[in-house]
Symmetry: C2
Subunit: 462 residues, 2 copies
């Protein structure tokens, strides 16, 4: 269980300079448990807490710290971090180096050995949000000619440095252990440790491996890694270049992080907030202000169009003021129906359940759905207005009830249509369908809602 | 790669009654790849396609079919399914049996052997959305007294039936292989296959295992499993009863499914749609209609309060009709600011980044944020109204600009406050904070927005 109760114990050990105690604590507890207890300590204290432990353990604990904390810790003790960086897992250290200022990155790179430096430099350059930037290069691999018993022996040697040894990738032997700069070895197949253990001792890897390898290209979007792991229930997926050369693996834990992060971003975008990285409550005030303010301002500007729409109908409003009572209601119907449709379609797009080419299928379904919803709400509006319309002269109640219910029907249908079609349209044009957020759809439908309402009212009243 | 291109090949084999071809296809491709190709086939055809393969493979392919398809397939050939059910993984078959009609379930249970039947009956009874209902009981385990080499031998025997053998649970030996009905054995520790392979041959499991076991209780909400795996990067987490007795494990693939499903539900709820299970575009029309319609209707009823609010100010509107031009704008500001805040807080709550006890911290931050956003929008409203107000007599422009900008400030702040505090309040009362969906917050702020606007207008104009 995550247990922040270790905090006082650690503080005590720190005060007593009990390095043996600190070491055994760091080495026995899961790094995530340690990190949960470190919240209240300063950067310098954290260095003192983890330093007594083995360098591998230090690296593991460091990896679990939140990124802003990692950066502060580097600034507190750069040389000390230099020792650590060699032992960090490749994907985590690249993620970190991507975030520190260029100057710090360069001075850190000087501290790691040559092969590592090239590896890091290559990974840091890969585009963010691609599989390449997400992958780790410390995977376990075997040549195809080994027997099962030799293979297990070989894995014993690789195990301490590898992110996972449960999937082992079989790589072309022809090319000798290549320089990082040369072309990577070709991926021939994959075998699980489970199958290797179950295999007869002298069976050859080539015969045991599965050649139907599901793989990702390093330029694929990271969301694709999530879809693939979710679909095949794998622990890891290999990443290859355009010639089938092995580059690295993406593991289940990275995918879980990606899925959580993407869900958060989708939710935020849907509410008209620019995605805020990490914990919202700890994010810098200015970042959040900009992320929220810029959308509010954009929506505000769009929404000022409703002033012009209203102004256009000012004579009708001046004559029959009760007509205006219905405007907020009509607007709300369009916005609500529209955000329902937009959210359902956007999510289905991002899960790959719906494609742009399905637009006609979606259109047909949403027209039917929009009508079925519109008729129900329209009937309700008819009855409600007919039976209870405070402040409306008796002779106007009947046409008003018809106006209200017809408007509700049209606006609900219209909201559903723009809500379902705009995300598909944006996706077709190569954009992010989540830009068609609920507030955006609501604002669009507000302007048209006013026009629809008064157009109907004009026919029935004037 | 998911490749629906196998479809024509399969259809050809089916026409030729090429059972050898079908068997080798089923056995060589990943079950998920096969399932992608099966979309266009009938239940009877699918049975013919998979039957030539080994019964374990049949079970694996069957597990990857979507649930509604599985149920149709059972109805098409119940006795044939009886053979399959014994080989399905425990969590998947429980999920399935939970969905079929009770009569079908009982007739199916008669087809499996005794121990399996008890296991299934116990699991089916566990509450949905708990860890207990998500777990599988086919985990690998060892007694603490074995040596590493004996342990690996033992795992070789367990491997074919276990969901994962990469984490092995060490259980109390004292109790002999217990009946299912008796109390489960106590969980003493955990060891990874990786550590077991790295260990000296004659080291004893007791000394190798880690005793700091992160575990779940079977009554925990399934969302907790997601949080735990995401935090510790585990492949699986053990599930125990209140006495520390081992009940099962939850694996990474289930957690990925849960995370995706929950994100979809959160998005849908946030848009005011009751969660729709599975693929929205394939969901029954009536289910979707009800899921959307009931929220639209509820929001519609709430929104009719705006009619009363407007009616209350009809004299002011009749006198100065241009005042009404600003109502849609003011309402939209409150709704947008409110849904931003509600979404950020609801998501932070569900990620465990914010707790109800943090309410004061959140309140302070959101008051500041609301003011910072409100002032920016208010200034904009002031300038815009002052410089460009079509249809407004000149002598009214100044007080109108002040009214509009003061209203925007107050309504933006108010929307931010209810958007941030209501989800915390609902959570505190034990409800689901996602009920405070964006449309709901928008509707609430609409009613109050009208009152705020006219209260300010009354002071400045009348």
């Amino acid at each position: 269980m995550p247990d922040p109760l270790f905090g006082p114990e650690i503080r005590l050990m720190l005060a007593d300079e009990d390095t043996a105690g600190l070491r055994s604590l760091c080495e026995e507890l899961h790094p995530a448990t340690i990190v949960a207890a470190l919240d209240e300590f300063t950067q310098e204290e954290i260095w003192s807490i983890i330093t007594p432990a083995d360098i591998r353990i230090q690296a593991a604990i460091f990896e679990y710290l939140p990124l802003p904390r990692q950066i502060l810790m580097i600034e507190a003790a750069r040389p000390q971090f230099g020792k650590l960086i060699g032992k960090m897992s490749h994907d985590d250290r690249v993620e970190l180096l991507r975030r520190v200022p260029t100057k710090v990155r360069e001075s850190l790179l000087r501290l790691v050995d040559d092969a590592d430096r090239k590896d890091i430099a290559t990974l840091v350059e890969l585009q963010e949000n691609t599989v390449g930037a997400l992958m780790t290069t410390d995977y376990a691999w075997l040549p195809p000619g080994m027997t099962a018993v030799e293979a297990i022996d070989q894995l014993r040697q690789q195990a301490p440095d590898r992110e996972t040894i449960y999937y082992i990738y079989v790589l072309d032997e022809a090319k000798k252990r290549a320089e990082v700069s040369l072309a990577p070895r070709r991926l021939l197949g994959v075998i699980s440790l489970r199958d290797l253990i179950l295999a007869p001792r002298h069976a050859v890897v080539r015969d045991l491996m599965s050649e139907e390898v599901v793989s990702l290209n390093f330029t694929d979007e990271s969301a694709k890694a999530g879809q693939l792991l979710a679909r095949y229930d794998f622990i890891a997926v290999p990443v290859v270049d355009e010639h089938g050369g092995m580059l690295g693996i993406v593991t289940h834990d990275d995918v879980i992080d990606i899925l959580t992060e993407e869900a958060t971003e989708d939710l935020q975008r849907q509410a008209g907030v620019s995605p805020i990285e990490g914990n919202y409550i700890e994010a810098p005030f200015l970042t959040v202000w900009i992320g929220r303010g810029k959308w509010l301002a954009l929506l505000f500007i769009m929404q000022t169009l409703t002033i012009n729409a209203m102004e256009h109908y000012q004579d009708q409003m001046a004559t029959l003021v009760f007509l205006t009572f219905f405007i907020p209601l009509c607007n709300s119907v369009g916005g609500n129906a529209g955000s329902q449709a937009a959210t359902l379609i956007t999510r289905s797009l991002s899960l790959g359940q719906v494609k742009v080419s399905d637009w006609f299928h979606v259109l047909r379904r949403e027209v039917l759905m929009g009508m079925a919803l519109a008729v129900a709400l329209g009937l309700f509006a008819l009855v409600r207005t007919y039976l209870y319309s405070p402040g409306v002269p008796l002779e106007y109640v009947k046409p008003l009830a018809v106006t209200a219910s017809l408007s509700v029907v049209c606006i609900c249908l219209w909201g559903t249509l723009i809500g379902s079609m705009l995300p598909l349209f944006i996706k077709w044009r190569g954009g992010d369908p989540a830009l068609m957020s609920s507030p955006f759809i609501a604002t669009l439908s507000d302007v048209s809602g006013i026009v629809i309402f008064f157009s109907i009212a004009k026919v029935l009243f004037f």
